[in-house]
Amino acid sequence: MRHVLVMTTFAFIASVVFGAVAKDTSKDRFLYGLKVFAEFMVIGLALSWALYFLPL
């Protein structure tokens, strides 16, 4: 659970900054931030499941 919490915190902070510096209007910033957050979460979860099945 702690891992997910840390990943979510990181995704939130990074997406806030990326969203705020990337676009020109508030709506675009919010949507872009949301998209970046979703990407971080989905890719993070996908990678963690992929690594789970690898015999490392």
């Binding site: 840390v6 915190t9 990181f10 900054v17 510096v21």
Partner: protein, 148 residues
Amino acid sequence: MEDQDLVRREAAHEEDVSTQAWLIGAAGWFCPGAGHMLQGKWARALILGGAVWVCYLAGLWMGGHLFTVGGSAEGGLSALLQVPPTIADLGSGVLYIFCWILGVGFADDPAHAARATYEYGTNFLLIAGLLNYLVMLDAFDVSVGRKP
């Protein structure tokens, strides 16, 4: 004659704007959020600066490690590998300098590294510095008029 005066005044104005933008960029690096605050962009300063501060403090709280160029006991390649993370950590400006003066976060002992959140914390500290470079560039762009 008037045209020459106008050109000269415009050049002087551009130079002033450029100097101001560099100073705002430097302020933004030194104190996360200050670059936007100096331009009266309070909401952006709070959001962007706040994100960097939270990321940095979370990293310290998790027991993360801060890098220095002379931090490795070994020389050569090992010392060279310390340079990129040190540049990332330096992005946090006064936060890094404050920790450096107090010696907080620079411990490199096995007991410290054994903490479950050590790696997370180290990465949060690196990310805080890198994000602040982005925030600093944004403040610079706003100052020269490239961004609203």
